[in-house]
């Protein structure tokens, strides 16, 4: 059995969780060995997932242990929050997405963070909907734009008058020369 690159990408997450049947696992490993691009993608993906897992277990163990502030944990916590925030915005790629979904299902505090983030999004968007301008800018601006046009009419009038005056002067000079 052989799989293509697209199928490989879809299966990466399940491979790491050891959720593939033997047959598909062998096909996955064969593709991993033969395809350089997929091998690089898999290495990067593995690193992201391991970072997320480590971050999660650091946070869980430091919260059980207690009181002393843990700077590394705060940075890692920020990283996981970044992923959750990007998940809520649908900005993760498909595999990161699946991973966060699994964390949501398995860890109640992650689920709570996601729910609070969705509530915040709704609150902000409702707020933006309610915001209304204090005046109708379109009416004021259209008045300004139409005033700008008027001088052009004045310029045209001036040019016409100047032309008439010049013609009269020329006729007068012609008559005077006769």
């Amino acid at each position: 059995m052989e799989i293509n690159c697209f199928q490989f990408e879809m299966l990466m997450n399940f491979y790491l969780d050891n959720e593939l049947s033997n047959k598909i696992k062998k096909a996955f490993e064969a593709h991993l060995e033969n395809c350089k691009q997929c091998r690089e993608k898999f290495t990067m993906f593995k690193k992201i997932i391991n970072d997320l897992r480590n971050t999660y277990s650091e946070i869980s163990s430091s919260s059980k242990n207690d009181s002393t502030p843990n700077r590394i944990s705060q940075t890692k916590q920020d990283e996981i929050n970044d992923y959750i925030s990007a998940y809520v915005d649908n900005e993760l790629d498909i595999n990161e997405n699946i991973k966060i979904k699994k964390m949501i299902i398995n860890k109640s505090d992650i689920k709570e963070k996601v729910e609070r983030m969705y509530s915040l999004k709704t609150l902000l968007q409702d707020n933006f909907q309610k915001s209304t301008p204090k005046q109708d800018y379109s009416k004021n601006l259209m008045k300004q734009f139409s005033k700008k046009d008027k001088p052009q009419n004045k310029d045209y009038l001036l040019a016409t008058l100047s032309f008439i005056v010049l013609c009269l002067v020329w006729i007068f000079m012609l008559i005077a020369s006769l």
Binding site: I84, S131, K134
Partner: protein
């Protein structure tokens, strides 16, 4: 001759007519986009006259330069860029004038919601005021990122291009902004 109902025209057609100096189309376009532009500045600047001035300035620039927009599909990105540049220009002018905005002391009573119905309680006004103040109190980069995401609906990539940063930075700015807002607005979430 069929009369055009400008209010029902699709947005792209409206832009096209505005580019061809159709006055009614221009008026309708301004009517449709003014709320978004106003809300954008409202949540970026502390409440004072500059919100109104900036809104007008941005709308004027949009109309005056609309003929330079080659693809009408890009109107949103293009107009966002104009609004953002208008905001940056105002920051530079403020710096030169040496004004100092006290970000922690925003007078919430100045932020008014004129269209709120009388029964639409103080509660709604209070929440809107509080949310506005909390967003304005965010550091500038976080504020920009969250407003461009939540109000304008731009993708992380679009925000990165508009603000000359990279995807990772945008991701963390939005996340930090949300964390701060969740803390400040905890009672409403």
């Amino acid at each position: 001759m069929t009369k055009i109902n400008y209010k029902k025209l699709p947005f792209n057609e409206l832009i096209y007519l505005t580019q061809n100096s159709d006055i009614k189309a221009t008026a309708e376009l301004l009517r449709r986009i003014q709320k978004n532009i106003y809300t954008f500045f409202c949540h970026l600047c502390p409440p004072n006259n500059s919100v109104s001035d900036l809104t007008q300035e941005a709308l004027i620039k949009i109309v005056e330069n609309i003929k330079s927009l080659k693809n009408v599909e890009n109107f949103k990105k293009w107009s966002n860029k104009i609004a953002l540049n208008t905001f940056y220009d105002s920051l530079r002018k403020e710096k030169r004038r040496n004004k100092h905005h006290e970000m922690d002391e925003i007078d919430l009573t100045v932020i008014e919601d004129h269209k709120s119905k009388p029964l639409d309680n103080c509660h709604s006004k209070e929440i809107c005021n509080k949310i506005k103040a909390c967003i304005i109190n965010l550091p500038l980069n976080y504020r920009l990122a969250i407003v461009l995401r939540e109000l304008e609906g731009l993708s992380y990539e679009e925000i990165a291009k508009l603000t000359n940063t990279n995807l990772g930075t945008v991701k963390s700015r939005i996340s930090r902004a949300r964390e701060k807002l969740q803390t400040d607005l905890a009672e409403y979430i």
